[in-house]
């Protein structure tokens, strides 16, 4: 192990094989979203508690300049910066160069050739593909729906992949996507879902965090049998309508980041998690839907083996 006494702004070189004592976390959204951002932070804090690191957090970073500021401010005091949210990537590209002693890990494709800049990210659309395959089989009406939040990349990727998954098994299935305009507007998510149901959709992929209860409400009030997928976390107990979720645990990924940092093994190439590590991302089914487990496993394997190629864009 190298010099352990790396203090703030000190001499730690990137990838020094000691546990960082100070980690800064930047989140593009709220730290308590019960989903993506929260699990990022949980991951860091879990390791931090074990290893005795201090963690500084800046969240709700919603403009480019705020992203630069957050990264710069944290870089001044910390050795490792972990940024959750693809909108922070371009800020990472510029700030990393100014702090060669600090290691930056971004969640999106970064500029190559910068020694202290790395990518660890999830491809959030891929589990939605598997969900699409299940949805097409589950749907009795031949019509399924996608209720999106805002026009952000993981949203559009999930939308495209969900539709592609469904069409891959039933080309004639109708997939309609609606964007609510907010991830936390539960009232409007409810109306959007009600609209989907009114149009005959009986399986819905809801890309909603704080807005999910609105979606489930709409299902309940419709009185129809409608199944819902949600992203990220296990919320199966919230409603019997939930059929499964695109499990994502960035905590594990963040754990990997810290391990790799310690072992001085942060890769130069972007490290993407699709479905290859089920502890990071997977399509999981809620209890009582085991009949689809085989389909899920098969599709997941096909994707991992490259037998299925994912659609582009998003």
């Amino acid at each position: 192990s190298g010099g352990g006494g790396a203090d703030s702004g000190g001499t730690a070189s990137p990838g020094s094989s000691a546990a960082p004592t100070k980690v800064g976390v930047v989140l593009a959204g709220p730290r308590n979203d019960k989903a993506f951002y929260q699990s990022y932070l949980d991951g860091v804090q879990a390791v931090a508690a074990k290893e005795g690191m201090t963690v500084s957090v800046v969240d709700n970073v919603n403009s480019p300049q705020a992203a630069i500021d957050a990264l710069t401010n944290l870089a001044a005091d910390n050795q490792l910066i972990i940024a959750g949210g693809s909108s922070l990537v371009s800020a990472g590209n510029t700030v990393a160069a100014q702090f060669p002693d600090v290691t930056f890990v971004m969640s999106g494709v970064v500029q190559t050739g910068v020694a202290n800049l790395h990518t660890y990210a999830t491809k959030q659309g891929v589990p939605a593909y598997v969900a699409g395959v299940v949805a097409a089989q589950e749907s009795a009406s031949g019509s399924i729906g996608y209720v999106g939040g805002t026009d952000i990349p993981p949203n559009s990727q999930s939308s495209i992949d969900f539709a592609a998954g469904a069409k891959s098994v039933k080309p004639e299935v109708k997939v309609a996507s609606v964007t609510v305009g907010s991830l936390s507007d539960a009232a409007k998510a409810k109306e959007a879902t009600a609209a989907q149901i009114a149009n005959g959709a009986d399986v819905i992929y809801a890309f909603q965090d704080a807005g999910l209860p609105g979606v489930l409400d709409a299902v309940k009030e419709s009185g129809k049998t409608v199944k819902v997928f949600n992203p990220t976390t296990d919320r199966c107990d919230e409603s019997p309508a939930l059929i499964g979720y695109a499990f994502q645990d960035t905590r594990v990924m963040v754990g990997h980041i810290l391990e790799d940092y310690k072992a001085d093994k942060l890769p130069a190439q972007p490290r993407f998690y699709a479905l290859d590590d089920p502890s990071v991302q997977a399509l999981k089914l809620c209890p009582g839907n085991d009949k689809y487990q085989a389909v899920v496993t098969e599709t997941t394997n096909k994707i991992n083996s490259g037998a299925i190629t994912m659609p582009q864009g998003g």
Partner: protein
């Protein structure tokens, strides 16, 4: 497939109601000469206050009361700084939005540490007999009690503004406060009451979102409805029934766009109704031009566009999807068009955006 069904209209009403509550309050405030950019913040505070109270007490009505109270408190800041202290209305409003976003976020996190609990919420109440009317019954009369309140609010506000002394005072505070001053009425107090009305109703609108519709709170859950309500006041041209109509139009387009998006492609019925709307707009334009000499050509242009787009759509049925941002900005575009094509007499109350003169 026909999107124009009962569900659509019911959704339109539900989407209109929070707008209606906030916009009618804002109408009173603006008629009194204070524009309230902080409406969004007042709604957010209202939503938060209602949720936290309902969560703590398990009572929806206490929640609603708390929502109103928080709206009133926020409005007091607005009134204190912009009316009593003659601060710039825009700046105060912007600051209040920041304040609401910041404080609700801070407190909510402090309390719930990353969880998102749900709580009791208002139950729909089917009005006996009325809700049995086939067709409109279930749409209009099987709703949350607050929706019924919103139904009567428009006429109530109209009555208050035009038939009561208080209304006269509010309007004169917004047009020519010197007059009010000379009659011995405290103009500052009148403007305060306008702002408070806006705050209380905005708080209620926020409460409608949190404990009325979903029984939970989420950071920034008002999602721009305050600005939409501001636009509705403009679109409604500062008249109570105009504002009601504007909110219904916004609610309807919102419901329709959600519906159309979830249909994937735009069905033939929609194109046909676009033609119908075009014809109606043209007719209304001709009628209005007769009456008030408002510029006809813009109306006709808009109507022509509707007819042409509708006709082409009917004939070709392109399965195209408009970006969500188009729908999100539509209410603002509509408001601007309404203002630009309206008769010249339509204007904001003279004092909107301006501080009261101080007396010698």
């Amino acid at each position: 497939m026909n999107p124009f069904d009962v569900a659509l209209f019911a959704a339109a009403i539900r989407l209109s109601v929070p707008l209606l509550l906030a916009a009618l309050g804002e109408l009173i405030s603006e008629r009194g000469g204070v524009i309230n950019i902080g409406l969004e913040g007042m709604m957010l505070f209202g939503a938060y206050g209602a949720f936290i109270t309902a969560w703590a007490t398990g009572s929806v009505s206490l929640g609603l009361a708390a929502g109103i109270t928080l709206g009133l408190l926020t409005a007091s800041i607005m009134a204190l700084v912009s009316v009593t202290l003659r601060g710039d209305q825009i700046v105060v409003g912007v600051a209040l939005n920041l304040l609401a976003a910041g404080v609700t976020m801070f407190l909510y996190r402090l309390q719930f540490q990353g969880t998102q609990p749900t709580t009791v919420r208002m139950e729909p109440y089917a009005v006996p007999l009325l809700s049995d009317i086939p067709g409109i019954g279930p749409v209009l009369f099987d709703q949350l009690p607050l929706v019924y309140f919103a139904y009567v609010l428009g006429p109530v506000v109209a009555y208050m503004l035009f038939r009561t002394r208080g209304g006269l005072r509010v309007r004169s505070a917004g047009e020519k406060p010197e007059v009010l001053d000379s009659t011995g009425v405290n103009v500052v107090r009148v403007q305060w009451s306008g702002v408070l009305a806006a705050g209380g109703l905005a708080g209620l609108a926020g409460a409608f979102l949190s404990v009325g519709q979903v029984g939970l709170f989420a950071e920034n859950m008002t999602a721009g409805r305050g600005f939409l309500a501001l636009a509705a006041v403009v679109f409604g041209q500062w008249r109570p029934y105009g504002v009601v109509a504007a909110c219904l139009v916004f609610g309807f387009t919102d419901a329709l766009q959600l519906r159309l998006q979830s249909m994937g492609e735009v069905p033939r019925e929609v194109w046909i109704s676009l033609v119908v709307v075009g014809v109606l707009v043209a007719a209304a334009g001709v009628w209005r031009a007769r009456r008030s000499g408002s510029p006809l050509r813009w109306m006709l242009l808009g109507a022509m566009l509707c007819v042409v787009a509708g006709g082409l759509g009917t004939a070709l049925l392109p399965s195209f999807v408009l970006p969500s941002q188009f729908w999100l900005s539509l209410p603002y575009v509509l408001s601007l068009i309404a203002l630009a094509t309206s008769a010249r007499g339509v204007r904001a109350p003279a004092m909107v955006g301006r501080p009261l003169p101080s007396r010698g």
